[in-house]
Symmetry: C2
Subunit: 213 residues, 2 copies
DNA sequence: TAGATTGTTAATCGATTAACAATC
DNA sequence: TAGATTGTTAATCGATTAACAATC
């Protein structure tokens, strides 16, 4: 039981691990075979102790004096982030942002594959965006059930977000990546990760206050 | 001296304040005149004590038994987030995401106004996107200086992000909102706020592991 | 007045940082 | 061997939560 137990990794560590992933990938591309916590810390303006702590969550061990095996480290981070699995996903809301996301070529590297998109606008339905079918939202529940979709992405306006979430949940979707600027009400067992632009923007504009003082 | 000092608000509180802002705005639209911490907590699945603590950072005081004056609360949050000022901003990288952002109509509500966009692709330069001029990146430094731009948004591919940042900094830009999946190296006095999709996605896909267990 | 809600002070919890032993 | 780097255990720091007094 306790062996099968999945360690819960603190969110701050998870977020840093994403950055380590980007960096380690780059370093491997440049020929690195071993990477020390000091290197990562220097590049990302962090503390090497913190980097080591984060890496410990992945379960791999490094070699004193050498650091971590680069490929092993990359693979371990991908395992933690679950990026070596691919989740099929639905996207609701084919406005500018939704379309931009459907065109983004690299989501498969991050464990995400769009298999269908939805919109309420009849002008848009039954077209294709970057090869992905756009269907009317009415069809979402049925299709999600049939295809056993686990992940939903919401790129609708704020007003439409809760309805999109409700349909996703009815269709059995368990995790929602929400870009709409509204907080979703969902049952306890459904995971919501908010990615509103306003959140990071608010932090930034607040800090702009302190500039020049 | 200590009166002019700007309180540094913890980032978790800032992020929650963004959500309070969305909610309070909605509640006012529905006619609310007074809003209690308990209401906010219930709607956003938080603890009312935490909500009160966060609101205290804005400096406003509520009335026992009534709650906070809704409009006063909204205004106070906007002041903290600096959303009642408008910062003119440059955007670099007019791909799908960049274009989507230039089309987004609500950034002025969040203190942001795009005044020019830049790209290295000559096919794109000297066109307009949503009325905003797209210029060649070469012109960025000169224009940023002339127009006293404080804020830059990077929506380039990873490889081009550092160069975009360097130009912005040379042009005197003090705060960068970075969407490219790479960590920027900047001088100490420059604020960088990362908004990579991969960050929230990594947290989400990690949590997807634990589902059904 | 009674009750609900705010605001403050103290306690807890978790993440970060420090110290140091282990090891290649 | 000496030195650099990992990994572990302890100390610190900051954010969250609890307890309770103040007040409308």
């Amino acid at each position: 039981m306790s062996k099968d137990e999945i360690k819960v990794i603190p969110e701050p560590s998870l977020r840093r691990l994403v950055h380590y992933h980007h960096l380690v990938k780059d370093l491997i591309k440049c020929g690195a075979e071993e990477i020390s916590s000091a290197t990562i810390a220097r590049e990302l303006y962090l503390d090497s102790i913190q980097v080591r702590k984060d890496i410990q969550f992945t379960g791999i061990v490094g070699k004193p004096k050498r650091g971590y095996n680069a490929k092993e480290l990359l693979a371990a981070i991908e395992t933690v982030l679950n990026w070596n699995n691919t989740f099929q996903a639905f996207l609701v809301g084919c406005g500018k942002l939704g379309r931009a996301m459907l065109h983004y070529p690299n989501f498969t590297n991050y464990g995400l594959e769009f298999v269908a998109a939805f919109d309420v606008n009849p002008d848009m339905t039954d077209t294709r965006i970057n090869g992905i079918s756009v269907l009317h939202t009415e069809q979402l529940v049925k299709l999600a059930k049939r295809m056993h979709i686990h992940l939903g992405v919401i790129t609708t306006p704020a007003e439409a977000a809760q309805e999109a979430a409700d349909l996703m949940i009815e269709g059995g979707i368990e995790a929602i990546w929400n870009f709409a600027p509204s907080r979703l009400k969902v049952p306890e067992n459904v995971i919501v990760e908010n990615a509103q632009f306003s959140e990071t923007l608010g932090v930034l504009t607040n800090k702009l206050k302190n500039i020049g003082r």
